[in-house]
């Protein structure tokens, strides 16, 4: 397996621990994935900025990122729902010949061309397939499965109650390339269960965190009001931590809990949770950058190890 990690904007600059956790779990000591480094990536670009103002610019910028991966024989893997949604949507739109020609016309000014990844060669003809854009949740679920992940767990998190927040852009909109069932998603829950922890059920589990679409930037109060509803549903069932696959949802849950002055529930990224279960030292997982203290959760994790 070859993954080209697309870390995006929020993870390396706000939650570097998530990036470190992902590199550690994918590294040779644990899952042993071959990582391809690409240093010419830019912003995915963000949907509320580019997709809302000019679809052509959005598609051209996204295609530029995809071009960098197409000849590397690797899957583009991201740890962010925003990047995932933006780039997946782009691969889908680039299937349209007219749009693809329009994009390639623009890309030719910088000496690039989007073809997709070489799928097979028949005689003298090359057949291409879209660049495969994947979310870390889907990649681990599909490539390793519950057993594959569980076999790497050295520190089972038995007895911990985890509230799972998939985040909107991992699931929706439903299209041909959707990876999980938007009504009853299983992937993130399965990964959490693979660590030995329990994924708790709660009301309105697929609700939005409230940050997306530029709401957090423009009207933080509204974003927090939306988060509060979801927080109350989670708090009602008594979760030890909230686990999400999206750094922006993480940011929102973290910030909103501080702003709302509620009983804090630690929020961690799925990569960080898996890293804890794989027995990686929490010192390397960058929990100091989270606003809600993760220490109480780490104490509970330690307690499970002793038993």
């Amino acid at each position: 397996m070859r993954y080209a990690l697309f870390v995006g904007c929020t993870i390396p600059n706000r939650f570097p621990g998530v990036e470190n956790a992902t590199r550690l779990i994918l590294g040779p000591d644990h899952l042993g994935v071959e990582l391809v480094t690409i240093n010419e990536f830019t912003c995915c670009p963000a949907l509320p900025t580019f997709y809302s103002t000019d679809r052509v610019t959005w598609l051209v910028t996204a295609a530029r990122n995809l071009v960098l991966v197409q000849d590397k024989n690797a899957d583009l893997v991201t740890m962010c729902n925003g990047c995932f949604s933006s780039l997946l949507k782009a691969t889908e739109e680039l299937q349209n010949v007219n749009k693809c020609n329009l994009v390639n016309d623009a890309l030719s000014t910088v000496g690039k061309q989007y073809r997709g990844r070489l799928a097979r060669v028949e005689g003298h003809r090359n057949f291409y397939e879209p660049v495969r854009v994947r979310h870390i949740i889907e990649a681990l679920y599909t490539d390793y499965g519950k057993e594959g992940i569980a076999s790497k767990v050295r520190h089972p998190l038995e007895g911990l109650r985890i509230a799972v927040h998939n985040g909107c852009h991992f699931l929706r909109p439903t299209t041909k390339t959707s990876v999980d069932d938007p009504a009853k998603p299983v992937m993130l829950d399965t990964l959490v269960e693979a660590t030995g922890a329990t994924s708790v059920d709660f009301v309105d589990k697929q609700a939005c965190c409230g940050a997306g679409g530029g709401i957090r930037l423009q009207v933080p109060k509204l974003a927090n009001a939306i988060t509060k509803d979801k927080y109350e549903c989670i708090n009602a069932v008594g979760a030890d931590a909230i686990v999400t696959g999206c750094p922006y949802c993480l940011f929102q849950f973290d910030h909103a809990q501080k702003d709302l002055k509620v009983h804090p529930i630690p929020v961690v990224h799925i990569s960080q949770l898996l890293a804890l279960a794989f027995g990686i030292d929490p010192e390397h997982l960058g929990f100091e950058w989270h606003f809600v203290a993760v220490r109480p959760f780490l104490k509970k994790v330690d307690a499970t190890g002793v038993a």
Binding site: C9, T10, N20, T49, R55, V60, T109, C168, R172, A207
Partner: protein
């Protein structure tokens, strides 16, 4: 609404609306059943315009209200998805220019729409129209200039930079010497698609970006 809406909307978006945060009215100015609209707000081409910018035909909306029921924003503000789609059907374009961009893009409305309209995409189309007729909100311009400067929408604090070094994480791509070439590429692409003019950012030849209103 009918009195105040039109002249307010005709004003161009101010170049810099400062640090004051977007206000959401607490009352319900948008219960369209109770409002009287004058012809000034009406635009017969609005439905066609939405289709041109990638939205679906809003005339097929059944007004069932499923979208409002699942919308996180409708729950907390006076802006109800079903009402907004009704306003689209009537062609009340200018009213949208007074509404902040607060669709979360969560696409729950799309999942529950029996007519397969996808209101979230309709709002994206309306944003396209608004940008072309009234200019862009400040946060879009700020974000674009960040991306033109650094390639990404965020930059690390010194502490985070130190942490990355300590943990031996790869240096951020935009700190590597070869990255200026990437930024040049972005500039060329944005110029090619005329995004710089749309957003109001001046891209001069030698990597100097001047943001409108910046001294």
């Amino acid at each position: 609404m009918s009195q105040g809406g039109a002249p307010e909307a005709q004003k161009k978006r101010p170049a810099e609306n400062g640090a004051d945060e977007t206000k959401i009215p607490e009352t319900q100015p948008l219960i369209i059943e109770d409002s009287v609209f004058t012809g000034a707000e009406h635009d017969p081409d609005f439905v066609k315009q939405i289709i041109r910018y990638g939205g679906k035909d809003v005339q097929t909306c059944l007004q069932c209200g499923n979208c409002t029921g699942v919308c996180p924003v409708s729950l907390k503000t006076p802006y109800k998805t079903r009402n907004l789609i009704k306003l689209c059907q009537y062609g009340y374009k200018r009213i949208f220019f007074t509404i902040p961009w607060i669709c979360a893009g969560c696409h729950r409305c799309h999942e529950h729409c029996p007519a397969d309209i996808n209101p979230a995409e309709v709002f994206v189309a309306i944003r396209h129209i608004e940008v072309r007729e009234r200019g862009v909100p400040k946060f879009i311009r700020d974000n674009t200039s960040l991306i033109l400067r650094y390639g990404f929408g965020a930059i690390p604090s010194d502490d985070i930079r130190r942490y990355r070094e300590k943990e031996g994480l790869d240096p951020l791509p935009n700190t590597l010497p070869g990255y200026t070439k990437v930024l040049k590429e972005l500039e060329t692409l944005f110029k090619k698609t005329h995004f710089d003019k749309l957003v109001g950012i001046e891209i001069s030849g030698e990597g100097e970006k001047k943001v409108e209103g910046e001294k």
